[in-house]
Amino acid sequence: MRFMYIVTSPQPNRYPTPALMEAIHKLADREIKAGRMIDSGGLMPVAMGAQVKVSHGKLSVVDGPFVEAKELIGGYAIFELRDKEEAVAAAVEFMQLHKEHMPDWEGVCEVRSFAPSEAEMPCQVEARVAS
């Protein structure tokens, strides 16, 4: 089953400490070599993006920065795993690193399964870190 991990945080100006970055890189390297992590990517700050909206039958294009942006999404990772349990275990390990290296950080790692092509059941869970 394929899963996407998206990390969001209500603290948009907190960047990972070097120690956390190193720990994450190490984990990512292990997961790539283990054949579990198959894709990942970082996203530029939302201020540099744009939003195309449809609301009340009207279409509008808004360039960043956005005043109402509260949650930062910094990137994603795609994993190929056996089941939801494995996906959650991996997310827990990832968030454990945050808890260890940035104890006062808060955020959510969302674990989303790709829509199934066969008889697989979809699932959606969240692994939360709150101080």
């Binding site: 070599k33 283990a34 894709d39 795609i78 056996r82 089941d83 349990e85 494995e86 275990a89 390990e93």
Partner: protein, 427 residues
């Protein structure tokens, strides 16, 4: 959480940690099969303790500490009192006091993992034993899971694993790494195992059991592990490319009712672009590493041709039939020749394809191979020789071992029969 949920969670955590557990234990004990036994004991311990105590915050550290404790006990119990073992036991006890040093373990997990893979896939072992050991030692599947995947009783797999481990121990192969010059040769045995596991899952992808297609994923995972631990082996990349590109078609290979859809009829929009990208990347890397395409690289290159084509009509069939000719030279086989017949049939017309397929009807190895009749039926139909096409397809349907394939062939035979009648009506 129900007991079953907890059980699944524990297994998931364990599979995540298993490669590190078994590799670091085998380095300590200098014995891969023994290390595997002891990591299994750590799993059993987790299954005993965690349901009541909860999953520890650092499950990997818990499992590692438990496995190491078993290793120390084992060394004491077996009283291999050579000085060396005393030292190992003392070192381990000292390490035991502190938290396991995961960073140090991660740094050379590659070499140890290589040893693990080569031990599990040792050419001395039967193919079946290699497959079972690989799934168990590299993928962390339990005996029950492997048994279910291969539709055989648990005891069969358990015995296979025990016997294979004994063979390794008795032959003094419990802890060895092939030397540089042997590496490529021994790698062939490893690749063969992975390819076999992939095919077992790929050809069985008909929804009888979820774990059979799951075998494709296990093989893919092993393929990705292989290129990370043997990054200079073109055929490792070739096999990975072959698997990624084949698997990219999974969603398109069956219809909503679970019926197989042939390549020509597949909806290419359902092919997995991410997987194609990964496959193409692996193929490029393989070709950077070697100037001559190997067995797996050639097969991957053929599938890559399909992956790059927007439709059947856009496919470079001439290139594909050339690649099949190359493959047939490298590994002469009637099955490859049959595939070449299909490609030539598309590139040069059905008559040219049929000429190759007809030569194969005398081939003893294809006497009971339903796809020969299937291909001939298709080519004959295209040539308007409906009666012969019907006979070929009906014969093929009698040979098909799989229900779904048999049904498909019968349906095609019926279509051709309708075409025959259409023809007669017109007369």
């Amino acid at each position: 959480m129900t007991a079953a949920d907890i059980h699944r969670t524990i297994l998931a955590v364990w599979r995540n940690e298993q490669p590190r557990l078994v590799t670091s234990l085998s380095r300590m004990l200098r014995d891969v099969p023994l290390a595997e036994d002891l990591t299994q004991e750590a799993l059993v311990a987790a299954l005993e303790h965690w349901p009541a105590a909860g999953v520890p915050e650092k499950p990997g550290a818990w499992l590692m500490a438990t496995a190491k404790r078993r290793a120390i006990d084992h060394l004491r119990r077996t009283r291999m009192l050579a000085h060396k073992h005393d030292m190992v036991a003392r070192d381990m006890e000292r390490e035991q006091q502190a938290m396991p040093d995961f960073d140090a373990l991660d740094d050379d997990i590659g070499d140890e993992l290589l040893r693990l893979v080569f031990t599990a896939c040792h050419p001395l072992l039967s193919q079946e034993a290699r497959v079972a050991l690989a799934l168990r030692m590299i993928c962390g599947l339990t005996t029950e899971e492997i048994a279910r995947a291969f539709l055989v009783p648990d005891t069969t797999i358990a015995q296979r694993i025990v016997r294979a481990k004994r063979t390794l121990s008795e032959s003094g192969l419990a802890y060895e790494t092939p030397r540089r010059e042997e590496l490529s040769e021994r790698l062939a045995s490893v690749l063969e195992v992975v390819y076999l596991i992939f095919n077992e899952g790929y050809t069985a992808a008909r929804g009888e059991h979820w774990l059979r297609p799951q075998l494709c994923n296990e093989a893919l995972r092993m393929g990705r592990v292989l290129v990370s631990i043997a990054p200079h082996e073109p055929e490792a990349f070739g096999l990975l490319a072959l698997m990624e590109l084949s698997a990219s078609r999974t969603a398109a290979r069956t219809d909503a009712a679970g019926e197989p859809v042939l390549l020509m009829d597949q909806n290419r929009a359902r092919w997995d672009r991410l997987q194609i990208r990964r496959g193409m990347q692996a193929l490029r890397r393989a070709r950077e590493l070697a100037s001559v395409d190997g067995f797996y690289v050639l097969q991957a290159a053929i599938i890559a041709c399909h992956a790059e084509a927007a439709s059947v009509a856009d496919t470079d069939w001439r290139h594909i039939s050339g690649l099949y000719a190359e493959l047939a030279k490298r590994a002469p086989s009637p099955v490859i020749e049959l595939n070449r017949a299909v490609a030539v049939g598309m590139a040069e017309g059905p008559a040219a394809g049929l000429a190759i397929a007809d030569r194969l009807t005398a081939e003893p190895a294809l006497k009971s191979y339903h796809l020969l009749g299937s291909v001939r039926g298709d080519l004959l139909q295209k040539l308007g020789r409906f009666e012969e096409a019907r006979l070929a397809l009906e014969a093929a349907s009698r040979l098909a071992e799989n229900d779904r394939e048999r049904e498909l062939l019968k349906r095609r035979a019926a279509e051709v029969t309708a075409a025959v009648h259409g023809q007669t009506d017109r007369h």
